[in-house]
Amino acid sequence: MREVKLKIDGKEVIATEGMTILEAARKAGFEIPTLCYHDGLSAHGGCRLCVVEVKGSPRLLTSCTTPVTNGMEVSINTDRVKEARKFVMNLIMTERNHFCMFCEKSGRYEETDCELQKRAYEVQIEHFPFPVYVNKYPIDTTSPVMVMDHNRCILCGRCVRVCSEVVANSTLDFSFRGSKALIASDTGLNRGESSCISCGACMQVCPAGALFSKFGGYKGKKSLCEKIETFCPICGVGCETTNYVRYNNIVEIEGSGLAKGNLDGGQLCEKGRYGPLMETRNRISLPLLRDSRGRFVESSYQEAINKSIQLLKAYSPDKIVFRVSSFLPAEDLAYIKGFALKLGVKDIDTFDGEIYRNLISFDYPKANYEDILNSDLIILVGGDIVKEHGVVGSYIRRAVRNKGAELIIISPAESKMDRFSKEVRRVAEGSEGSVVKEYEEKIRKASNPVIILEGAYLLKNREAIESWLKFAEASKVKTLPLPPTGNSLAAWKLGISSKSNENTESGKLLFLILGDIDSSYSPASLAELGFEAIILHGAYIDPMMKLADVVLPGKSWLENEGTYKLISGEVKKFTPILRAEKDAKSPRELLSELADALRLGKIDIDSLITSL
């Protein structure tokens, strides 16, 4: 990269070739106001707020689109520039309904969530110099997650760009012309009926009050919130997040990878951005014990612990069975394993252990995200990647849209991914493997084919994936089975899922550690297999509680600090976003109390964690 020397407001600035004036100025510590510009998106040049004066140019130039050249002399704050900015801001402010005090995002300068308002304060707009003609534009509330109020839209196009450039879903675009321009979903559908995948990227980048969350709206300004930077561990992709929390409630979750130049471009999926806000399940808030008449009664925490100890002592280790969620921090998983070993329990498994055992016997080359992006043929087998691993879905779309990759979907159900594929093959659930033969030749002929196996239902079905994996192994086709939970990989690596559960039938005491998941993962028949007693530890009310003898409240993942092993192989430490109630414990906190009482000695997990 060649160096470029230029002058900004008389000060010599060194930039690199290809930089825009805005980038060079910001790097050198100058501030130029922007609105339509957004880090990580292509420059739009629409709002004209970032105009600067460049010596030799009769017109003002937008700093966000003008590349630096050697010897350029830029003035970013002359009277002419300031006046032009104010004028343009005046036009934008009078264009639609920007009566700020009635807007969700409005606030004083220090606390507003609205970039438009902030800029207006900065250029000191105190009144409308032009007559305001309030035309009524539609308000689209059909999206399950956000509201689109066209009356507050400034047509900056950030949402359009993020939707096509980062998410690669291209739902949004401009429709109509001039002052009648309107952001449209697909060909002018309501958002809720469009191809929108509710990832919320558009909402995050909206600089005005046009797009806002149905969950966070009217819950308070971000400036009033505690801001916690961490990542989302739900699916194992591990997108970085900024979490805004007020009174121990999440107000909003934003992707933060964009500014860091992450591959994901700072996007999140619907589950990641809205999942915790959409949670409708009820928490287990108190320890419960079954009384002599078979009814649940509230108990003290200590009573519940005592009952658990009593049960663990009552059965010999070979009669005790551990069933554990893999969506727990590695510290918990390691502790559970250590606890079981010390106790002498051999039958321990995660709910997705079957998947591990299905995959382990094949030696196929593993695909990573880059492989997807560079692929020319992507075979997507199984469930709905948009819902399960949404951000990975964006890599597929980018490959299809930007590089012309071919996507073939083999799935029993419709998905919003279908419209990007050249071929959708509907198969009955469970017979995904039966069509491998038909695609073998095509895959072999491709130069960088990738097979993606999606969905717990699919990966649990050995018959469905066996032929794909055998083929991948034999033909050395890069393959990516997507794990069902955010820490499946750690659970598998720690060896929790490696046991076969042959001796289940002889089990008498079941120790269920559910974490956040509900037991729909576990066979409902588990309890019918002859267990005499069940200890249940989990965050949410679960159908399995009906059968439990002791129920202990657990932390949700939002409250539980710990380590996760991501699909990318990266190991990341999660910072809790919310505080747990007093009695809600993480599995390791609970088990260490039990271990003390059972005198199991110290359970060391450090080496296990470092081995991840």
Binding site: A43, H44, G45, G46, C47, R48, V51, P58, R59, L60, T62, T65, T66, P67, E83, A84, F87, V88, L91, I92, T94, E95, P129, F130, P131, Y133, I154, L155, G157, D173, F174, F176, R177, G178, S179, K180, A181
Partner: protein, 562 residues
């Protein structure tokens, strides 16, 4: 048949010359859109019927438009050995009378506009002959007298749907010359020497533009012909395409050779169905004759042209918006730099020129840049086609050397306003242009002079307004047009024009206040300096020039309220 050599071309030319001025009587009906609108198709059918019933060997053919729109439908007739005669306002019922006369070697006098002894197609001269000496010569006819036809050299004379007639008047000889005698650099050099500037309006030197695109590093390059003519009242390009499509095609092939492009695209608005169909016919014919496609003239140069139809957005005439539209995106301009010459269509270096620019190329290559540069003035060489419309007596399409005064065009060619009205102003450059008052009509028509008085050359719309025209209404009309056609991408153009229109309407309703004039000026200046593309940057011109030259009209309207 595939043309492989100059001899092939000459053989075709010889054959086709027989059609133009051979041993048969030739009747050519002007069938461009303007002619058709006044009933030329019915005239054509009437002649066809008449000839059939006479059972005589008379050649009936269609030609484009010679530009004298007021006199449409125009029919030209050639009696072997005699001068070509232009007949005006021919109605279907005139056909039998004309035919009868023609067979007797005569023509009804009252229909004749003028006679043409010899027509200079620049690459070839066609000598028709004498006769009808009592009829005024083309060169002496007021409407044609001051014109100089380079771009329209074939318009109205040859059949636009017959490649052989084009070849007969020297067509494709420039292409042959370029491909066999010149390197691409030499072609560019020749265009640079000619001094030709872009006829789309901005006047950027064409040769330089080609050179930049040719030198941009890339494995692929594209050339585009901008035929998205959208200025109200302007139809230069339409006629150029309808009357002489091969001229455009030949220009583009030469351009493709010079720039190193393999594909050319003609972006033409869908509202020009006749132009599109004639272009399609011409492209097909050129392919069939081996003049378009693989290995043209047997050289290793291959080039093809395809047509992309615009959906009717004015802004798509802007280069980057046009590229977006061709790529299948919404037609909205993109920030420049990067300029299309570096990163254009599909991210590849792209050269875009207006129809008229392309049509000049064959002449420049054949006659030499030197020859071309002597027409017009020093920095404004060549000719420019204008559509002279509005309140002017001789409405039509005129081609004059650059540097011709506006007075000459409006009065000598156009004969001023009808009904004895005085000319008040001339609006040049379409909605982006300005209104030039009568007092300034002495200025020469060139890029710089027009800019000096607040207008632009534009693509060639020239609207004459009489003393009864309200200049405030005129300004409001143009702003309503640009406001409607603003793409909406950048705020100053999108919202600023809307505000301007609101203020203008307020003044027109008699509710304006003196401060509105200041606000209008301020809005205009900001829109000009901060807009993204040419549309916004020039849209306030009609307002600024009318305020500058006709301020009293604004004040009069405002006073009424006070």
């Amino acid at each position: 048949m595939r043309v492989r050599s100059l001899d092939d071309l000459k053989a075709i030319a010889q054959r086709a010359l027989e059609k133009l001025c051979g041993r048969r009587i030739r009747i050519a009906v002007g069938l461009a859109t303007c002619g058709i609108a006044t009933g030329a198709e019915e005239v054509y059918s009437a002649f066809l019927k008449g000839i059939e019933s006479l059972k005589r060997d008379i050649l009936l053919t269609k030609v484009g438009c010679i530009g004298y729109c007021r006199e449409e439908p125009i029919v030209n007739v050639v009696i072997p050995g005699k001068a070509l005669l232009l007949l005006s306002r021919v109605r279907p019922e005139d056909a039998s009378e004309i035919l009868k006369n023609l067979i007797d070697g005569d023509v009804p006098r009252e229909k004749i506009v003028c006679r043409v002894k010899e027509w200079d197609h620049l690459l070839e001269k066609i000598h028709y002959g004498d006769g009808f000496t009592d009829v005024s010569l083309y060169e002496d006819t007021p409407f044609f007298k001051h014109q100089r036809k380079i771009v329209l050299r074939n318009a109205g004379i040859i059949n636009p749907e017959d490649i052989e007639e084009y070849i007969a008047v020297g067509g494709y000889r420039s292409l042959y010359k370029a491909l066999t005698e010149m390197t691409p650099e030499m072609v560019i050099e020749e265009v640079k020497r000619s001094g030709l500037r872009g006829r789309g309006g901005a006047g950027f030197p064409t040769g330089l533009k080609w050179e930049i695109t040719a030198k941009s590093e890339s494995d692929e390059r594209y050339i585009i012909c901008n035929a998205d003519e959208g200025d109200p009242g302007a139809y230069m390009n339409r006629n150029e395409m309808e009357s002489d499509p091969h001229s455009l095609i030949e220009g583009m092939i030469i351009g493709g050779y010079a720039i190193g492009a393999k594909e050319g695209i003609i972006y033409v608005r869908a509202e020009y169905p006749l132009a599109i169909s004639r272009l399609q016919i011409a492209i097909e014919q050129s392919r069939r004759y081996g003049l378009l496609g693989e290995n043209i003239f047997g050289t290793d140069f291959s080039f093809d042209i395809r047509i992309v139809k615009g959906a009717g957005a004015f802004v798509c005439g802007e280069e980057t918006a046009m590229i977006a539209s061709i790529e299948g995106e919404t037609g909205r301009p993109r920030p420049r730099p990067p300029f299309p010459a570096e990163k254009g269509l599909w991210g590849k270096p792209t050269n875009i020129n207006n129809v008229e620019t392309w049509c000049n190329i064959p002449v420049i290559v054949y006659k030499g840049g030197e020859w071309f540069s002597k027409i017009g003035t020093k920095n404004n060489t060549g000719t420019k086609v204008f559509s002279l419309v509005g309140e002017v007596q001789r409405v039509g399409l005129v081609e004059v050397p650059l540097g011709t005064s506006l007075k000459r065009i409006v009065y000598d060619i156009g004969n001023g306003c009808p009904d004895g009205l005085k000319v008040k102003a001339v609006q040049i450059g379409g909605p982006s242009g300005g209104c030039i008052p009568e007092g300034l009509l002495d200025i020469p028509v060139d890029y710089e002079s027009l800019k000096e008085v607040g207008s632009i050359m534009g693509s060639g719309g020239m609207v004459v307004m009489s003393e009864r025209t309200s200049m405030v209404e005129t300004a409001a009309f143009f702003v309503s047009f640009t406001s409607e056609e603003s793409c909406g991408k950048c705020a100053p153009c999108r919202e600023g024009l809307k505000q301007m229109l609101n203020i203008l309407n307020k003044i027109l309703m008699g509710k304006g206040s003196p401060s509105d004039l200041e606000l209008l000026k301020e809005l205009s200046e900001t829109i000009k300096t901060t807009s993204l593309c040419g549309l916004g940057q020039t849209a306030p011109n009609p307002v600024l020039t009318t305020i500058k030259y006709f301020k009293e009209e604004y004040e009069e309207l405002i006073k009424r309220y006070d």
